[in-house]
Amino acid sequence: MMAPLAGLRVVDLTHHVAGPYCTKLLAEYGAEVIKVERPGGGDPARRLGPFPGDVPHPEKSGLFAYLNGGKRSVTLNLKSEAGRQMLLELVHTADAVIENFAPRVLPGLGLGYEQLRAVRPNLVMASISNFGQSGPYRDWALTDLNALAYGGIMSITGDPDREPLMLPGRQAQYLAGLHAAVAVTGALYGTRLGLPGAYLDVAISEAVVSVIGETIVAYTYAGLVARRQGNRQMSAHPFTILPCRDGFVGVTVLTGQQWQAMAEMMGNPALLDERFATGPSRRRHADAVDALMSQWLMQHDAEAIFHSAQGRRIPFGKVSRPGDLPDDPQYQARGSFVRVEDPDLGPVRLFAGPVRIDGEPLPQRPAPRLGEDNAAVWGELGLGAGDLVPLWAQGII
């Protein structure tokens, strides 16, 4: 199958997580992504673990390997005039530019949208930033923690009687990268049909606000300001996570039929007490309900509980440990983890994403060594070894 975005060239000025996740997705769909890294250390994400055996190495970052599969790498000092000119020449050959610097950085270097569009009239450019390219918070700092707090997700995650909780890892940045990928591929489709390019402004903060669920309209429609509910739902029970013998399970019951089936599965007629007849009434007696269910849960393992409940069409979930996923039968059946031959890591097993086409995941490839495509990419623009050696000496590449 022809790769969907084959033939499209993306100049990737991004670093860390949000921008690189966007361009990783473009690379998975077959775009040629040329990652432009700063000379010396390259993308700071090369310094982020995990590393095999906890031995740091610029070409062995697990996070970097995952986020940058399938990209090419050049190095370029954008603060130098020579570097700036080389970037403009590269952009001239490209369909899209993606960047996630703080808003004033690229314009300050004479590399804003207007300057880049001047060398590539139909350019699609996406800037991913904390709060967007405008507004009173434009220059504010923001990490994933802050984005989830500002964007409303933390106000409804966690226990009512203690601090709100973030989602683990880098979720706000992934949300921004995903939204940017949708907007960029959309705008690029437009250029295929003869539409002009576009400048896309994606804010990490807005990506978070965009994925609040019904909580936001509960306020705008009905004036309800939702509060944290802990591991329970406000209106019905059970909709929770509870310990079991060897771990944890998601205990979710939506209908009376499922409740009956669960009571039967647990072999405990006390669960059929009329106090527990409906979701709301079970919510009022949630502690008592949990205590009864726990008697059975603590005598069974997560895997068995999961299949037993699902076999009765009750939507329980086993709480999988991330490290166990490669050995999970569902993930194995779908070929979800694939081996990629990395020049420094060796054969490394990477998660291949949620998409299957004809039963196959999108192709997974190794991340690039820092600057490994300098000769090829700059050579295409007419620079030979005689040019690259002095550029290297001066720190331009």
């Binding site: 989602l167 909580t215 310990p243």
Partner: protein, 410 residues
């Protein structure tokens, strides 16, 4: 009005709830025409979710539901019973003039309608179909019931979500849904690119569960490479310190603070306690990490005397990443959000003028063309059946008589 990139693309949306609808809404945001198809006896679940104007369901609550309107703005509404042969026939005629089908039924359902991909592709050779089942269309969990909570648990995300001194905790939103929606929208657009080059269609199988697994790589790799199985992460970060959620003045008021680097730490000291800069216990990142509990306690004592807004202003000016935990009332009143225009007022047919989220990006500095409200049930039956497919008044009446279409849930 400027042309939109997906103008002229027609999408048939059979999905319900959040993942499929947010996917197709994103495609509508790029200009695609989306026909949302609901069964007369199977309206979208979100039409029944209790976010009604002023809390009042009204005489037709299914046309006044906030989350339905939020996820389904800019779509045409067609009622159609796909379990009925006449409904299937109409659907086949729609497929022949459409580009993309999005569905999130459990895997066998489309086949029971006689509408699996090979049948549809024969009607429309370049058809792109996106299926978004909970666990995917294959594998031992294929037919398992997969709510957002279920897939969050199986995906690995729940294991690392929660307070470190407790067990796994559920996220406050059904996070798997919008993630799958974004992945699905991207897949649809990428495959439209391919179709433009090759003319070929394709059936995409996108697992909601795996969409979340894709977002925890560091936890999977640290387990595999170093045997470390991280548990609930709380609000801490592997490297940054301080990094957490701190109590403020007021009822249940909190602020988040993070120092990504030495410069931010210096800024924090200037704002909170310059003496910290001279203390050996905080001299560098390693020392601060070792002493993070006491550092967080001392920082809490400072934040507790101030509102989240005051803390945020005082710290941001020093280059520290700080932001309040905003509840919905404060979020909707936030000046940055207002300036950027993410929230838009839309005149809905049956729920009055309501605020909804607009496009999640600016294009050329603009939030984009005005939005149309989410459809009432079957609102565009006639426009689609007659205007698009050319059915006669008699044929439409016959479908209504058979309950294959309806202007209200049956």
């Amino acid at each position: 009005m400027a042309a939109q990139p997906l103008q002229g693309i027609r999408i048939l949306d059979l999905s319900q709830l959040w993942a499929g609808p947010y996917c197709t809404r994103l495609l509508a945001d790029l200009g695609a025409e989306v026909i949302k198809i609901e069964g007369p006896r199977n309206p979208d679940f979100t039409r029944g979710m209790p976010q009604f104007p002023g809390g009042e369901p009204g005489p037709d609550p299914w046309n006044r539901a906030g989350f339905f309107n939020d996820m389904n703005r800019d779509k045409l509404g067609l009622s159609l019973d796909l379990r009925h042969p006449a409904g299937q026939a109409v659907f086949r005629r729609l497929v022949a003039v459409s580009d993309v089908v999005v569905e999130n039924y459990t895997p066998r359902v489309m086949a029971t309608f006689g509408l699996e991909y090979p049948v549809l592709q024969a009607l429309r050779p370049g058809l792109i179909m996106i299926s978004i089942p909970g666990f995917g269309r294959s594998g031992p969990y294929r037919d398992y019931a997969a709510l957002g909570a279920t897939v969050e648990q199986v995906s690995g995300l729940s294991w690392v979500t929660g307070y470190p001194d407790k067990g796994p905790q559920r996220a406050g939103i059904s996070y798997g849904d919008p993630i799958a929606a974004l992945q699905a929208a991207l897949a649809a657009i990428a495959l439209l690119h391919r179709r433009a080059a090759t003319g070929e269609g394709v059936h995409v199988d996108l697992s909601l569960c795996e969409g979340l697994t894709a977002l925890i790589p560091e936890f999977i790799l640290d387990a595999e490479w170093n045997g470390r199985h991280h548990g609930p992460q709380g609000n801490s970060h592997a490297l940054m310190v301080p990094h957490g959620c701190f109590p403020c003045r007021g009822d249940d008021e909190w602020v988040t603070i993070a120092c990504p680097d030495e410069a931010a730490w210096e800024g924090l000291c200037v704002a909170v306690n310059p003496a910290w800069q001279r203390e050996p216990r905080f001299v560098d990142q390693r020392a601060r990490w070792a002493n993070r509990e006491v550092l967080h306690r001392e920082l809490s004592a400072w934040t507790a005397e101030r509102t989240p807004g005051e803390v945020t202003q005082l710290l941001q000016v020093q280059g520290v990443a700080a932001a309040p935990v905003l509840r919905m009332d404060a979020l909707l009143a936030d000046p940055q959000l207002a300036e950027r225009g993410l929230i838009q007022a839309i005149a809905t047919p049956r729920a009055g003028v309501q605020r909804h989220r607009g496009r999640p990006w600016l294009c050329n500095g603009e939030r984009g063309p005005a939005h149309r409200p989410g459809p009432t049930f079957g609102q565009h039956n006639r426009a689609v059946l007659q205007g698009l497919l050319g059915l006669s008044d008699g044929e439409i009446a016959e479908l209504a008589a058979q309950g294959v279409i309806s202007d209200r849930p049956l």
